[in-house]
């Protein structure tokens, strides 16, 4: 546990003591701000009967943050250490591979959540300036936050895996981006194929991130979706661990 906390602190310090962290934060803040103002604009226009949280994720900026910023957060985890050689000094201290993987994953997840944290202020801003508390449904808000956190866990685990495969941060970011894109675009498989009552359509619905987020934004927490994302996270962490261990048999 001590090792885990020491490593976690070091990883987080890496973000906050370097430009990388602040550049990412600034970029995310900009995208979040833009999507928030778009949301206000659409509220001012015609009356809509979808929850406000759903309006929010429908702006493309939401997905941009998830898809583009995630690999940029995770690219340095293993690749940078391998590149500078500090990986060797790390792996010759009495720490286990699992501790290293978990600490790095937790650090990027924490940073990811920090990036999204401005979102917590938006409900308050809305109710403060519209004076209409009925706009906000606590269930829908909670669901949205949960969805963002779950997506983050998957994307961070995927990015860690991509970073563990290579010693180049650029390559790590590209692999991470490709994996993330694949997972996201999988959402649209269902609409490309004409819906039928067979297992394929069923399957496509179960892996659709867009559908899942829609549910979350309406305050529907489907345990199947939660299990799906937690499972994916665990799967990619497992792959990361195996990739870290692979130096023993490669």
């Amino acid at each position: 546990m001590r090792v885990y906390i020491t490593l976690l602190r070091r990883e987080l310090a890496g973000f906050f003591f370097s430009m990388t962290g602040y550049v990412l934060m600034a970029a995310t803040l900009l995208l979040l701000g833009v999507s928030f103002s778009l949301l206000l604009e659409s509220l001012n226009a015609d009356a809509v009967d979808v929850p406000i949280t759903e309006l929010f994720y429908r702006t493309q900026f939401f997905w941009l943050i998830l898809l583009v910023v995630s690999p940029l957060i995770t690219m340095r985890t293993f690749a940078l250490e391998k590149h500078t050689g500090t990986y060797e000094t790390l792996m010759t201290t009495p720490v286990s591979d699992a501790q290293v993987v978990l600490a790095k994953f937790s650090a990027v997840l924490v940073f990811y959540l920090v990036l999204w944290s401005p979102l917590l202020a938006y409900p308050w801003l809305l109710s403060r300036f519209t004076g209409d508390a009925s706009l906000l449904n606590p269930g829908a808000l909670g669901g949205t936050y949960l969805g963002i956190a779950l997506f983050g866990a998957v994307f961070m685990a995927m990015g860690c895996f991509a970073s563990a495969l290579t010693r180049s941060q650029i390559v790590a970011a590209m692999i991470g981006l490709a994996l993330g894109m694949a997972l996201f675009l999988g959402s649209f498989l269902g609409s490309v194929h004409p819906p039928r009552a067979d297992w394929q359509t069923q399957f496509y619905r179960h892996i659709s991130m867009v559908d899942h987020l829609q549910d979350f934004c309406r305050g529907i927490v489907d345990t199947r979706a939660v299990a799906y994302y937690l499972g994916l996270t665990a799967f990619f962490l497992f792959l990361t661990l195996k990739s870290v261990e692979s130096r023993r048999w490669k």
Partner: protein, 320 residues
């Protein structure tokens, strides 16, 4: 008995995809020795050290550090060694004290222990003045000391240093060498290098590697004795024919080479038989004949001489 052995390596082999870095290596290091691992680039020094420090396992063979197997008891081994890899990688965005404390905690020291140990190694490695500086802003010599301090911080029994003086200026090299010598008083040290003079001064024993194989393992003194002195160069004012006759009569001269130098002098390069110091012999002959002598010196060995010598003896043995 086994406790006396700090490092015990048996039939160690490491194959990478395509080539074998270490072939059937067997050696041992006693507690308290300073041992130099000497070899050209690609001789398998770093690979051996990486295996010993549990960074990667060997393809076959066993290695034990203080009685613990590097593969099955990796955590025990890691706690017992301080390892500084080649090129001394550090987190350049951290401050010196912060980095050492981070490393101490990783290596299992408690908060109080790590605080006092970091103070100790800062003092020991002469880092007191820069403890609050960012590592990335330090000179190479200071960085090397930070690397050494890191290797020492958890009071390891064995210190493994991979090319500790590479890229330093002569003053820094001297300082680092002194530091290593001091460490040898209380620790077992294994250092690798491709510079002979480096190990000559610091190490009590040498392991010479070439092409992944152990070429020779002996005390530094014996290694130097076996290969004998280097060439003796003398500049003498005498007719070349007299000189030829003279060198042929001296049994200790294995081979000689004459070339004219400026003035009336002739430059004689004499190769001695193993283990003989030719200089007094040459002087005695010059004195007897009343020749003029203006230079007499023995050239230093280079690692190349050793390899030439060792591989030549191998070949001769093969031919016999």
């Amino acid at each position: 008995m086994a406790d006396e052995l700090m490092i015990d390596v048996e039939n160690l082999t490491k194959r990478y995809a395509g080539h074998t870095a270490v072939k059937d290596l067997t050696f041992s290091v006693q507690r308290g020795e300073i041992v130099g691992l000497l070899g050209r680039n690609g001789a398998g020094k770093s690979t051996t050290m990486r295996i010993l420090s549990c960074f990667m396992p060997a393809t076959s063979g066993t290695a034990r550090v203080a009685g613990c197997d590097v593969f099955t008891q990796a955590d025990d081994v890691r706690r017992r060694i301080g390892y500084m890899p080649e090129n001394n990688p550090l987190h350049v965005d951290m401050r010196v004290r912060e980095y050492l404390k981070f490393r101490a905690r990783l290596k299992g020291l408690s908060l109080a222990q790590s605080r006092s140990r970091v103070d100790d190694v800062l003092e020991q490695c002469g880092l007191g003045d820069v403890s609050r500086k960012v590592i990335g802003h330090l000179s190479k010599g200071y960085r090397q000391r930070v690397g050494l301090a890191d290797a020492l911080v958890h009071e390891p029994e064995l210190i493994i240093l991979d090319e500790p003086t590479i890229g330093l200026d002569p003053n820094q090299i001297r300082a680092v060498r002194q530091l290593i010598k001091d460490l040898g008083k209380s620790h077992t040290v294994l250092i690798s290098t491709h510079i002979l003079s480096e190990v000559e001064m610091t190490c009590s024993r040498l392991l010479i590697l070439d092409g992944g194989r152990l070429l020779m393992s002996d005390t530094t003194e014996n290694v130097l004795k076996v290969i004998g002195g280097g060439q003796v160069v003398a500049e003498i004012a005498a007719p070349a024919s007299d000189l030829k006759l003279c060198w042929e009569q001296i049994a200790e001269v294995e081979h000689y080479d004459l070339s004219p130098a400026e003035g009336d002098y002739t430059r004689c390069a004499l190769t001695p038989r193993a283990g003989v110091d030719l200089r007094p012999v040459v002087f005695e002959h010059v004195r007897q004949r009343g020749w003029k002598l203006r230079e007499l010196h023995q050239s230093k060995h280079s690692l190349e001489d050793i390899f030439m010598h060792l591989t030549r003896t191998d070949r001769e043995e093969d031919e016999l």
